[in-house]
Symmetry: C2
């Protein structure tokens, strides 16, 4: 890749970690620029105008262009690499898990991690308290669906690691921070160990 | 495409319509199998075991294989066609809008359409009533972000229609059913008209 890549990020976010893990697995260097999301740094006028009008990280900067949305940034980095299957069905199946991650997994598993670990239950709004049971149940359902699938095969798509595993690893491996018990999902636990054994794997805190 | 394609769907769903519109734009035939989601037909044991463990439509059947998630099904159909840009940045930018659609647009614009048009406000649960203001505001923010972007360019990505436009057209053009006023978003209205003028466009009810 000839262009300089810079990740605009909040490093403790699983969505940002996905992008770093993708780059690490491919041996690519990423510049990193950290934002304090709790201080509203991604809602500043400059960030909204220049980096992402949606006010969120991660955003991958490619030269003078920007790719918001974690899974799109991962796809940009991995395009043409072994992390994206060559088969037409397998490529769509990989995207299927990545869209499912953003719709069924992240808004529950990642959101409850944020509510527990960053906001604190004592500070939850009435709306957060009202939403909690449904988000907990939907998070458990997402983990159960993964567990059932990973009980039948080693990787989410076909027979090797793809971006789908990277995308879902990010928040699944820290799901306990959202009040989920990974011991309830043994096939998921085995898969987490498999991901961590892939060459050039890097941890979230790296 | 040599395999038979069958869309497992609920035709009034924008997510299902996306897949039909993609196929129509490419001149491809889709078999269609309708499910009554209000009667729980996508939660049946058979559907969960054979079609989609996540209990949702659309699911694109390709021979004996299944692609759940609307935007992954669109990608499968359009893979290698003019609906997906050849440039690496533009391809990722297209996916960026499609992930954004599922995270920021559909859970607000489409969900409120469903709540208004299928459940009926008189029947909303306490949780739905509590969530309504945030979903309305997030839906308006999503439409405003599109309007600002489409005020600067004719199509979401680069200079022509892509799957990103198909994905976002689906629920945007029926947003009034969710209580949103399209007249508040004139650049979006102009873009809706442009999409409707593309050769082989088909309407949702077709």
């Amino acid at each position: 890749m000839s262009e300089t890549l810079i990740l605009h990020e909040y490093a403790a976010s699983g969505n940002c970690y996905k992008v770093r893990l993708t780059a690490a697995l491919l041996g690519l260097e990423l510049g990193r620029r950290e934002y304090d999301i709790m201080a509203g740094e991604t809602r500043s006028t400059g960030f909204l105008a220049e980096v992402n009008a949606n006010g969120r990280t991660p955003v991958l900067q490619v030269g003078e262009q920007f790719v918001p949305e974690s899974n799109a940034a991962c796809f940009y980095i991995a395009d043409g690499s072994w992390l994206i299957p060559e088969g037409r069905f397998e490529r769509a199946d990989m995207l299927r898990w990545m869209f499912w991650e953003q719709y069924n997994h992240e808004p529950n598993v990642a959101t409850l991690r944020f509510w527990h670990g960053w906001i604190g239950e004592a500070n939850w709004s009435d709306l957060q308290r009202a939403q909690f049971p449904a988000k907990k149940a939907a998070g458990e359902a997402a983990l159960a669906l993964m567990d059932e699938h990973l009980g039948r095969q080693d990787w989410l798509v076909a027979d090797g690691l793809t971006l789908a595993d990277v995308a879902l690893y990010a928040y699944t491996h820290v799901a306990e921070g959202g009040g989920f018990r990974l011991a309830d999902y043994p096939a998921v636990q085995d898969w987490l160990t498999r991901v961590e054994g892939v060459p050039d794997y890097v941890a979230m805190a790296a």
